[in-house]
Subunit: 589 residues, 2 copies
Amino acid sequence: LSGSLGAFANESTQEAIGDAKNWAIQTGDYANHRYSTLDQITKDNVKDLRPAWTFSTGVLRGHEGSPLVIGDVMYVHAPFPNTVYALDLNNDGKILWKYEPQQDPNVIGVMCCDTVNRGLSYADGMVFLSQADTTVVALDAKTGEVKWSVKNGDPAKGETATATTMPFKDKLLVSISGGEFGVQGHVTAYNIKDGSMAWRAYSVGTDDQLLFDPEKTTALGKPVGKDSSISSWEGDQWKIGGGATWGWYSYDPDLNLIYYGSGNPSTWNPSQRPGDNKWSMTIFARDADTGVAKWVYQMTPHDEWDYDGVNEMILADLNIDGKDTKALVHFDRNGIAYTLNRENGDLLVAEKYDPAVNWTTGVDMNRDSETFGRPAVVKEFSTEANGEDENTTGICPAALGTKDQQPASFSPKTSLFYVPTNHVCMDYEPFRVSYTAGQPYVGATLSMYPAPNSHGGMGNFIAWDATKGEIKWSIPEQFSVWSGALATAGDVVFYGTLEGYLKAVDAETGKELYKFKTPSGIIGNVMTYEHGGKQYVAVLSGVGGWAGIGLAAGLTNPNEGLGAVGGYSALSDYTALGGQLTVFSLPDS
Amino acid sequence: LSGSLGAFANESTQEAIGDAKNWAIQTGDYANHRYSTLDQITKDNVKDLRPAWTFSTGVLRGHEGSPLVIGDVMYVHAPFPNTVYALDLNNDGKILWKYEPQQDPNVIGVMCCDTVNRGLSYADGMVFLSQADTTVVALDAKTGEVKWSVKNGDPAKGETATATTMPFKDKLLVSISGGEFGVQGHVTAYNIKDGSMAWRAYSVGTDDQLLFDPEKTTALGKPVGKDSSISSWEGDQWKIGGGATWGWYSYDPDLNLIYYGSGNPSTWNPSQRPGDNKWSMTIFARDADTGVAKWVYQMTPHDEWDYDGVNEMILADLNIDGKDTKALVHFDRNGIAYTLNRENGDLLVAEKYDPAVNWTTGVDMNRDSETFGRPAVVKEFSTEANGEDENTTGICPAALGTKDQQPASFSPKTSLFYVPTNHVCMDYEPFRVSYTAGQPYVGATLSMYPAPNSHGGMGNFIAWDATKGEIKWSIPEQFSVWSGALATAGDVVFYGTLEGYLKAVDAETGKELYKFKTPSGIIGNVMTYEHGGKQYVAVLSGVGGWAGIGLAAGLTNPNEGLGAVGGYSALSDYTALGGQLTVFSLPDS
Ligand SMILES: O=C(O)c1cc(C(=O)O)c2c(n1)C(=O)C(=O)c1cc(C(=O)O)[nH]c1-2
Ligand SMILES: O=C(O)c1cc(C(=O)O)c2c(n1)C(=O)C(=O)c1cc(C(=O)O)[nH]c1-2
């Protein structure tokens, strides 16, 4: 997909993204491959890698996302207060400019899962920042001056922002967070030129709000019909129904479609929201110009475990059963890896990508079945069936899923997907909760622990064959791999660990080739760029995110942090808070 | 001096210090050489140095001092809240234990020059921390448990602590800060066993308080006589007379003397305190057992510029004019480098170590003169002569001196001193101020700028011949070198810069051999250790201290931060706050 300039696409943006020396958007390319054709660093020489220079952001807590590189300038962001730096690559990272938004710190209290930010994007000489308080700012890439800014939501209602933005054509796609506060999730396209709104599409709501065409918008090949969302909720619950959009975005210029997933239905207590709760937990394919949905696929109808469907949609051209297929591959929180036809939303493969997954026996793949595409729920692990104030134990995966926000990568060379995963299970006790704007609307008490009867660790880094739905190899990790992977043409795959290691492994075999202990736990995503004829690999350290919330927010009660504090308490034996960029390269000689 | 075990000295402590694989006290050894006999890293191979592992302290603001290494464990400290970590060197720096004192954050408001801490010390299986709030804690080195703790002062009166402690024999020497709050400075020796007080000696006060023997305590060879301190002040001003002891300590086991300097007289407005203001700005040599002063030497009588005399006393055996001399070498804030006979306090050499120094024409070296040992003040730069509410301009050095707390090192191989210096001048306008306990008692408005008509930078890193009082070579630096130097038997000298570089230079020539940009500005001191047969070099990054107070405390008004904010404002173009340890080594092969 990379390099295929769609006729209508914004060519300067596509060029910036297409130049392998750059890293112009968080996902590397529109297809979310997180793959680089740079090949100076190879599986043979990566053992000689070493830090070339480093930079502290001056901010603690979880550092997600990665820096961008456009030509001679690197753009680095930080979690709240969302400081942005432009660093001069010709001058050892000298600070060209710095942008420090003034934000009401009260927003910290309505961020569910640490004060993270998944990074900047670049287009048309501007750098885009989506602040925690939902202000979207376009900064002049040369000077850091604000070209325009727009408020995308209201933190007083629990609306916040953590995701990156995606520039496509003449628009910028912007997310909203707040599934734990009963927001009504949406994505919004702003005009890049001036920040005016082009279109907004809700995840749950009326057809108008959804930008659904009841006749033409399809789900597994069939029109969704009228009021497909609100009819799947009881009463007005949909108005506080969640479906936040805090994950990643992809774009297929040829199909002119954008892809993303929606988050959990609110509240976490399933008994309070009978119905399928459409279109929470759903993959959306929308027309890039109008926002109208072409197709949808709900992965976890009537969620009972907080398996947000927001993980990245990787657009890959795969040969499936002998057929060249424009596929979309998605590693869902619910533990199932989906391969769909991205043109029409047809479901091709749905397999567990961690054998520990137990809440479902699997997805019904019988096209003739009433329940085609639906996961079969194991009653023992149904928090709805067990009911309110009952503790359902031993559910795998935990709420943070077999994978959370940490993006996978795809190498066209190996045709494999490299997936940072969680290997964590949970107990889940739903309780009745009432809605107050701006107050947590969670309704469940959780505790988390490593998947039992396994290697004892809380994560695996796996290679996945999406054509067959099979794990090719798996590296056990002590903690969840909360860092995004990078695959390169040097046949090396990089990822970070919560203890703080940057690791490089062989793309074919998974053999560890190099590791380095960075200052703090890594929940950032590895990126690469070329400057002055030399390939660099860079990653942000700074432990936090949902997995690291105990350290990040100083919580120690095991049930705090939506249940994550206890599970990850051993992290404090390995790392402390930080906020640093480490840039690696090979020695000169 | 290292290795010479005094008969009365605590042998286990001396052994810990004497083992070159360790770094057991902040100063490397009792002589404050900051020199290591380790020689795997040489001037020939240092170009191949690279970070081996890193660690974030989880704290921002200025990180002074250095980690300690005792055997397989590294002890790392942080500025307020003064977190302490024990890291397992056998396990990539895994955290063995962590100590996080609970301190009233109000202490931050009475710390003059950032929330710094100059590090831990080690003796008898205990690690000693002097907290910002003046609590001294003895931690079990194995478990981090508090063995004893004692309160050395009262932050409500502006008494704080930033200096390291020095274990000697069965005692621990402890400082007090607060010269900008009118404290009555003192050093205190606590019994290492249980934290009970052995002796306390004030810098200004009655002979009893000073632990002076009017007949036996000498100044330049003559008994000081009765009431030498209080008679040099007007009225009761001495009771709020300053002379804090926030610098470094040395110890000569053979002579059984400890050495240190006292800080500025309070207030900074000289007109409010007529007299010599003894014994502020003074070098003290005290009996290690009783604390009784053997000799004193006041460098800057009646200070008019805030030239605290607290910089380290380096104990070196030098050949001066053909005579083997037990010397003490001291690079004072006032811009003069002093060489004294450390047995009797005789003044041997006193020369400017920055040609920019202009407030004095020099020290009277005529032994027959009334003013022997006294600096001759240039009237133009006398803030007392120019008077209150008059701005005296162009004084060199600035209040932070030609050198501040950043310790120099001494190589017995080259017999040279390696001195991180400031190259900064100032305008100084004294004003009348009244004393309120716990309130700033400063009484002067300052502004600082690079030394005019020079290289434009604010610092130099110099090599000094203390026998002759001559600069051997000088490396111009853009900013003050606020980091402590390390010299090694590999003929390499290391230091850090405020931009964040760790630099290695040739001990003979000063030629730059290696540099690496660490995450944040370096005001920590470089140390070295050996582990698993391999030599490592480590340094804390984390911009701050007085020079970096603008960044550290988020100040932007040029006169804020006691005048330092304006002078160092360009720092924000190079670095941001941090708190990281970077450990360097040579590649394995
Ligand atoms: O529903 C939401 O609005 C929402 C928002 C976020 C977020 O914005 O970070 C997370 C989640 N949910 C969530 O379920 C989750 O697991 C999660 C992990 C993280 C993270 O950054 O580590 N954020 C979020
Ligand atoms: O008089 C005092 O009590 C006192 C204390 C301190 C300190 O404790 O850090 C400094 C100073 N004075 C001082 O004059 C000074 O230049 C200074 C620099 C620094 C630093 O850490 O960068 N501290 C201090």
